[in-house]
């Protein structure tokens, strides 16, 4: 009998919480389709809104794929709590088993999930980070997406480094260690501050990262231009004081009407043509936002595996 009770207690303590599926709610006109952010709802995005799970945004872990064990969830909750306290950014974990053919579908799903729920609702730019894991064996994928001001601290280059560092953990489903690494790196990058490439960039009202080339003082250019102009100025003024010049020609004494050419011929010999590509790319490197169906901006990226 004791053995039976032990099994029951174990079941309730460990198995049931792990297998518990996050609660979702219905989106309808009465609750404004669950969208409380400033995004406008229109024919273009309504379908996507309705497809996006509507969840209680007070929670942070939405393990639809049931990939995290109880300990990992507890540990993740603590890490999220510390991260949000330190950075002020919301952190969301979502896992799913949906099958997607294209990588962009993963991104669309994850970003819509963040945008059409109340994550970061108290922040002007809805700042936050979303860790996405698609655990289906057909299209496994993991990603970190950034929203609002988090795009400045965790730019694409930093996100790519984080994703690369946890690749093996996610392939081997060692989520506990992978998540731990992600938070260590996120905290480390936050402590380092915004990268110098983005120090003059900012997030606009729609959460788009507006990239502004950082102002680097052009010391060498200024030196070259200043040297050139100064040399010209000094040489010109010195030449004004050196008025004695050897006569090189006699153009003042040439009687122009006397110039007479009895033979003129211009003969074409050969030619060659060279070509080169004009670089018209307006790309300004990493740091720009991508725009989701909500119209809001986001950054980050993902990996297959």
């Amino acid at each position: 009998m004791k053995k039976f009770y032990f099994i029951i207690i174990c079941l309730f303590s460990f198995v049931l919480p792990v297998l518990a599926t996050p609660t979702t709610y219905e989106r309808n006109e009465n609750n404004h389709y669950g969208v409380n952010k400033k995004w406008s709802i229109n024919d273009n995005n309504l379908e996507k809104i309705l497809k996006t799970p509507y969840v209680n945004a007070d929670e942070r872990i939405y393990d639809f794929a049931n990939i995290l064990d109880y300990q990992t969830i507890n540990s993740l909750n603590l890490l999220i709590e510390d991260f949000e306290k330190e950075t002020g950014f919301t952190f969301v974990f979502i896992s799913t088993n949906n099958y997607y053919v294209n990588d962009i579908d993963h991104e669309n799903y994850a970003v819509d999930f963040y945008d059409y729920n109340d994550f970061g609702i108290n922040d002007d730019h809805y700042s936050g980070v979303l860790l996405y894991r698609n655990a289906t064996s057909l299209s496994p994928y993991y990603a970190l997406y950034t929203f609002g001001d988090a795009q400045l601290y965790f730019d694409n280059q930093r996100i790519n480094e984080i994703l690369d560092s946890v690749y093996n953990d996610f392939i081997l489903k060692n989520y506990s260690q992978g998540i731990d690494t992600i938070f260590k790196k996120l905290n480390s990058y936050y402590d380092k501050g915004i990268d110098s490439r983005l120090k003059d960039s900012y997030i606009n009202d729609m959460g788009h990262l507006v990239y502004k080339e950082p102002f680097n003082i052009p010391w060498i250019l200024a030196f070259i231009i200043a040297s050139f102009i100064t040399s010209l100025f000094i040489c010109w003024n010195i030449s004004k004081q050196k008025m004695v010049i050897k006569a090189k020609d006699a153009k003042d004494y040439l009687y122009k009407p006397s110039i007479n050419f009895s033979f003129r011929e211009d003969k074409f010999i050969n030619s060659h043509t060279t070509s080169h590509h004009i670089n018209t790319s307006s790309s300004r490197g990493s740091g720009g936002s991508r725009i989701g169906s909500s119209g809001g901006g986001h950054g980050g990226g993902g990996r297959r595996g």
Binding site: F215, I217, P218, L221, A222, F223, I225, A226, S227, I229, T230, F233, I234, N237, I238, K240, Q241, K242, M243, V244, I245, K246, A247, K248, D249, A250, K251, D252, Y253, L254, Y255, S258, I259, N260, F261, S262, F263, R264, E265, D266, K267, F268, I269, N270, S271, H272, T273, T274, S275, H276, H277, I278, T280
Partner: protein, 352 residues
């Protein structure tokens, strides 16, 4: 050492017999004692105003290296070098024109009389610092002028014809874009030209005593001012006879004509971004040569124990010479301009 005897002339006032000088601004001879003025025609009526009586008695001992003569007015014995054709008695200031220096093969074909007065040369020097940043302080003060002399410098003038042909290489470069690709087409040509042109009165300094570069720098003279030589124009000025023979001087005139000739041929090859002569058969031919005296104000300046020579075209007023640099001013201006431009570039970069 050879010794020749010749006459020293000076110009006397036909009215009172006092020394008389040519006044450039009046274009007349004016007596400073009786205030009489005479034009050339009037002077010629009086045998160029030379006082034959006095001059007949004056003796010039002409050696190879120098000339001695006795001033008719004060009796002092004056020494001049062998190139001097007109000078002054250092005691009484009277003009002495050594006529044998300007006769025979040394007889000038023409002369451009002085148009600019001594004061204009002084003013030109004093105003030299205007618009020039690196002139040492007080350099252009009148007091620094050690000596100022109006001198008729001997010049050779050459009429030169140039004829022949040139072969040139030339390139034309054309660029255009299609889509994202920029094309540059370079075409190579050979150009041939045959022709001729005339140069009139290319001047070459006929005196070794004066720097050719300074004499080049006061060019050009306005040849419409050339007039038949008359020694009366020398009154009140120094004069030199040539010591560079015509054949020697013509080398420089030919060189200058050839250079301009080549440029004129190249200018006729139009539409090329690059062109250079690979062969030319241009030849010069001297059609005429003239020996003339041209007016120059020579200004000797002493500043900080160093001598500087300036010259002013006595006809056009062109004033030349090398002004020393005030190194401190050069450094200050260099720092100022560099700092200004440097700051401006950074400010513009920041705004953009």
């Amino acid at each position: 050492m050879t010794k020749k005897r010749s006459k020293a002339l000076d110009n006397k006032c036909p009215s009172c017999g006092a020394p008389i000088k040519f006044v450039p601004s009046l274009k007349k001879w004016k007596c400073e004692y009786c205030n009489s003025e005479f034009d050339l025609e009037e002077m010629q009526k009086h045998n160029n105003a030379s006082n034959i009586k006095y001059n007949q008695d004056s003796i010039i001992d002409d050696y190879d290296d120098y000339v001695t003569y006795t001033c008719q007015d004060c009796g002092a014995e004056i020494v001049a070098d062998s190139q001097t054709a007109a000078t002054f008695c250092v005691y009484c200031g009277n003009t002495a024109i050594l006529k044998n220096k300007l006769s025979g093969k040394f007889s000038p074909d023409a002369i451009i009389p002085f148009k600019k007065e001594k004061q204009e040369a002084i003013d030109a020097f004093v105003n030299l610092a205007k618009g020039k940043l690196f002139v040492p302080k007080n350099f252009t003060k009148k007091d620094n002028i050690e000596k100022i002399r109006g001198i008729y410098i001997p010049f050779w003038l050459y009429d030169i014809d140039i004829a022949g042909s040139i072969d040139c290489n030339g390139t034309k470069i054309r660029s255009w874009s299609t889509g994202n690709v920029q094309y540059t087409r370079t075409e190579f040509y050979k150009m041939y030209r045959t022709g001729s042109m005339d140069f009139f009165k290319i001047p070459v300094d006929g005196s070794k005593r004066f720097s050719n570069d300074i004499m080049n720098s006061i060019e050009p003279f306005d040849y419409s001012g050339l007039t038949k030589y008359n020694h009366a124009y020398l009154s009140g000025f120094y004069a030199e006879k040539y010591d560079v023979p015509s054949d020697e001087a013509s080398v420089e005139a030919r060189r200058r004509a050839l250079e301009s000739g080549k440029n004129a041929f190249l200018d006729d090859c139009r539409g090329y971004s690059q062109k250079n002569i690979v062969r030319n058969t241009l030849e010069t031919k001297i059609k005429n040569k003239y020996y003339v005296l041209l007016p120059v104000w020579m200004v000797n300046v002493k500043y900080n124990n160093k001598s500087y020579i300036f010259a002013m075209n006595g006809q056009t007023g062109e004033f030349v010479g090398n002004i020393p640099l005030d190194i401190l001013k050069v450094i200050v201006w260099t720092i100022l301009i560099f700092g200004l431009v440097f700051g401006l570039v950074i400010a513009i970069a920041w705004i953009l």
